[in-house]
């Protein structure tokens, strides 16, 4: 037995998370986690530095992986199981993956930024390899055979020339307790049995049968549902609230606690009805920007521009340029709009231990936020996020969990908070509205000048990867927070591939404008200004799949392309659209995308993310924008906020570029980044009208047609 596992205070208190029982345990941590951390995440606190996941092999032969990541639909559960199945030579069905439970799983800062695959997944493989090495050594002693003569198949170790001399993993660990940290046992480098296959997802059966329990599906004895009084607009302060009529309803309890007024009832619909009987008066919020004036407002209120990429001299670029193109690009606020709204169920037991089931991408941040709100130590709070109904960056914070916990404490009963769709739109941390200004010049088919300024979007991928001798790119403000007060009329945050959708749209739109100036085909122009081998390869691959035919836009065919990078994943997307000149409506006919995501762990899983990105990407490109005025969010449901539907579907073709020399990379976000640019360029190619603003609504397409 290994004594003295180096643990942090958190782990000691938990007594190894109650790891009673026999088995082989391997503790490990994700790679480079701190280095990859998105800046300035609120509520984060330093976690254990020596582990954030572990695996257990039990006497029943089952292998359990416990990690603080969350299954949001992206397939984390399946991918982590694949890592262990591969390294331990077992069937994926014998692996259980426990995610998002802060009492069972070690600290993890959250599931965002496409980090599970590049950071945690390799560590899980190494843990599996470590476990297998330990088991082989034990088997060698037990079977009295040299390790080199042993064979492993489906969790059974046997002597190669005497197969009856065999022992299972379960038998080896029975009655023992073995604990290991990662040593440097090498992982497999070839002859993969599981990596590169597309097994059935582990969450499938729960999901197709309706048995998957999301935060709102936790029904506890005595559970009360809460409906909370909300302001009509951001910045509107409550003046008075007459709750007497609501209180008269049978079974209703009205809670007032600080700034919170809530109605509790054992049925949510009755609580909502009672909330409607509260007569509340709010101060009129101060006048603020609306969805049309916001772009001027952002430029006026943004912090100072900061140079994020520079080479050569702009003056020299200007001198060399045969022609210059200048354009301002805009994108509106975009909502996450997961079908599951923010939800939490909170329960406090007799010992004061708080358990919160929360739809969140960051259960450990929620745990800390709840502890802080209730004024109790963090170890008195457990957050469970087993299944989450979509996140897309919008569920990294969880105010509803704090509300549910506060109310549970006051009520002395478990309380559930389910945001209405109106609350979901109101409290969403939108993708920020942004202004991207680019002035660029070409000479002889080469880009000689690039002067870019980004306001609001954030700096990621603002600096073009094309070969540009003379460039300067500056950025002000972003999605991460830290913007000056009043720059945005509500909170903003990470939205699937934050800042990169905006910057890719602007850059790639501009590339096509430059190509037109240079009199070149858009593909030829890009390749003529590009030495990056991986980008050239995805462009050429996408072109082949799409059947790209060279031409000078606008050709009338309605084809366009865009490419980009997110978290070291390369994406080239080509699209064909039909534009109705009368209505300005755009129908996407076909999308072909080539992705280089390094070693592909689960091809079908990556395809799912890419198909989903094409579909979701049509939304931010064509219809999705949050309308607002004076702090009031005017979109309150899916009738006015239009997300993609079945009738929008193009033919989708995804090509995964073979690149096993590059380690596996995350696929949740990169496939969505080029949709805006590809569709903008395809619209231009169809009708010769440049739409420089996302979303490219029928009105904006018509306005661009009128100018063209």
């Amino acid at each position: 037995m290994t004594a003295g596992i180096p643990v942090t205070g958190e782990m000691k208190r938990r007594d190894f998370f109650g790891l009673a029982g026999a088995g082989l345990f391997v503790f490990f941590q994700a790679e480079r986690a701190e280095a990859q951390e998105p800046a300035r995440l609120p509520g984060r606190q330093a976690g254990p530095t020596d582990l954030n996941a572990y695996l257990k092999i039990g006497a029943d032969g089952r292998v359990t992986c416990l990690a603080g990541k969350v299954e949001l639909g992206q397939g984390a559960m399946t991918e982590l199981a694949m890592a262990l199945a591969e390294e331990l030579d077992i069937a994926i069905d014998t692996v259980d993956v426990v995610l998002g439970d802060t009492d069972l799983c070690p600290y993890d800062m959250g599931t965002f930024g496409s980090m599970t695959t590049p950071l945690l997944w390799p560590a899980v493989r190494r843990a599996g390899a470590e476990a297998k090495a330990v088991l082989l050594q034990m088997a060698s002693e037990r079977l009295k055979a040299p390790a080199g003569q042993l064979r492993v198949h489906a969790g059974t170790i046997s002597q190669a020339d005497k197969p009856s001399n065999a022992v299972t993993y379960g038998q080896l660990v029975e009655g023992k307790r073995i604990e290991r940290h990662l040593a440097n046992v090498p992982v497999k480098t070839a002859d993969f049995q599981v990596v590169g296959t597309s097994p059935r997802r582990k969450d499938g059966r729960d999901k197709v049968t309706g048995q998957a329990a999301y935060a709102g599906d936790i029904i506890l004895p005595g559970l009360l549902h809460a409906a909370l009084l909300r302001p009509p607009a951001h910045g509107a302060k409550l003046k008075t609230a007459d709750t007497s009529a609501a209180e008269k309803l049978p079974g209703v309890r009205v809670v007032k606690d600080g700034d919170m007024i809530a109605v509790l009832h054992e049925r949510l619909d009755v609580a909502v009805e009672a909330l409607g009987k509260i007569r509340a008066e709010f101060e009129k919020p101060p006048a603020g920007p609306d969805d049309k004036t916001i772009f001027d407002h952002i430029q006026k209120t943004a912090p100072e521009l900061r140079v994020v990429g520079e080479s050569g001299s702009l003056a020299e670029g200007e001198r060399l340029a045969a022609s210059v193109v200048e354009q301002t690009y805009l994108n509106s606020y975009v909502a996450h709009a997961p079908i599951e709204t923010h939800t939490a169920t909170a329960q406090i037991d007799d010992n004061g231990k708080v358990t919160v089931w929360a739809s969140t991408q960051a259960p450990f941040q929620v745990k800390n936020a709840v502890a802080s709100a209730l004024g109790i130590p963090a170890e008195k709070v457990r957050t469970i996020s087993r299944y989450v109904g979509g996140g897309f960056g919008g569920k990294t914070e969880a105010d509803q969990a704090v509300e549910a916990a506060r109310l549970a404490k006051i009520a002395g009963k478990p309380v559930q908070v389910v945001y209405s769709r109106r609350e979901e739109f109101f409290y969403d941390r939108f993708r920020p509205a942004a202004v991207m200004k680019i002035r660029a010049g070409v000479a002889g088919g080469k880009i000689v000048l690039w002067d870019g300024q980004v306001f609001g979007a954030g700096e990621r991928e603002a600096n073009p990867f094309y070969d540009v001798a003379h460039k300067r790119v500056a950025s002000a403000g972003g999605w991460q927070g830290g913007n000056p007060p009043g720059m945005h009329p509500f909170r903003v945050g990470a939205w699937r591939a934050p800042s990169v959708n905006s910057n890719t749209f602007a850059r790639e739109s501009h590339m096509d404008m430059l190509a037109a100036k240079a009199g070149m085909d858009p593909l030829e122009f890009r390749l003529n200004n590009l030495t990056n081998a991986r980008m050239r390869r995805v462009l050429e691959t996408a072109a082949k799949q799409f059947g790209w035919k060279a031409g000078r836009a606008p050709t009338g065919r309605g084809v366009g392309m865009a490419c980009g990078i997110y978290s070291n994943v390369y994406n080239a997307t080509m699209a064909e659209v039909a534009v109705d000149r009368g209505t300005g409506g755009v129908q996407v006919r076909r999308v072909a995308m080539a992705l280089d995501a390094g070693l592909v762990v689960n091809p079908d899983g990556l395809r799912q993310q890419a198909e989903g990105s094409v579909t979701m990407g049509m939304g931010y490109s064509l219809t999705e924008e949050v309308r607002f005025r004076d702090g009031q969010v005017l979109d309150t449901n899916f009738d006015s906020y239009r997300i993609p539907r079945f009738s929008w579907l193009p033919k989708i073709e995804i090509v995964l570029v073979e690149n096993s020399e590059t380690p596996a990379l995350g696929g949740g976000e990169p496939p969505i980044i080029a949709m805006g640019g590809a569709l903008a360029n395809a619209i231009f190619d169809a009708v010769g009208a440049r739409v420089p603003q996302l979303p490219m609504t029928p009105e904006r397409v018509k306005a661009a047609l009128a100018k063209a």
Partner: protein
């Protein structure tokens, strides 16, 4: 109006004493503990709460209990009583879900289609599914799954 209402839920009689103006979704989830049917928008706009009422798919968040009295209601928990229903199996085979939250509503709406029209074209499937929203973008696979289920088995049973 508070009254006692009975209806057939997944083949068995269910009886609740409650306000008959309440929406079926909340009665299913809060009163009867069947949480497979999801809340998504509360206004019949997203389809996450879709169930079968007699032979039609309805939005349970916009279907008052009084409209259900004496009738047959089928939810995701009530199909495929012996193993998975053909539509569920096809969703599983095509991995036609990601977060899974819209999935029960998708499956129930598909169930209604195939009950009426066992061999729809892909375009008919897409038209029928139009108002069921999925944010993860599993649409292509959902169409694939329903197409396969339509080809594979007789719906009902």
């Amino acid at each position: 109006m508070e009254r006692t209402i009975s209806f057939t839920l997944n083949g068995k009689t269910a009886t609740v004493k409650t306000d008959d103006e309440r929406m079926l979704l909340w009665v299913l989830r809060s009163d009867l503990g069947l949480t497979g049917t999801k809340f998504g928008c509360g206004e019949g706009l997203c389809g996450a709460c879709t169930v079968m009422l007699e032979n039609e798919a309805v939005r349970s968040c916009a279907t008052p209990l009084k409209a259900v009295a004496g009738k047959r209601v089928l939810t995701i928990e009530g199909i495929g009583s012996h193993g998975l229903h053909a539509i569920q199996q096809a969703f599983l085979d095509h991995q036609a879900y990601q977060c899974g939250y819209c999935t029960p509503g998708m499956i129930m709406n598909a169930y209604a289609l195939l009950a009426k029209s066992p061999h729809p074209t892909r375009a008919e499937i897409a038209r029928h599914m139009e108002d069921n929203l999925c944010r993860c973008g599993s649409h292509v696979r959902i169409l694939d799954a329903i197409e396969e289920a339509a080809g594979a088995a007789k719906v009902g049973a």
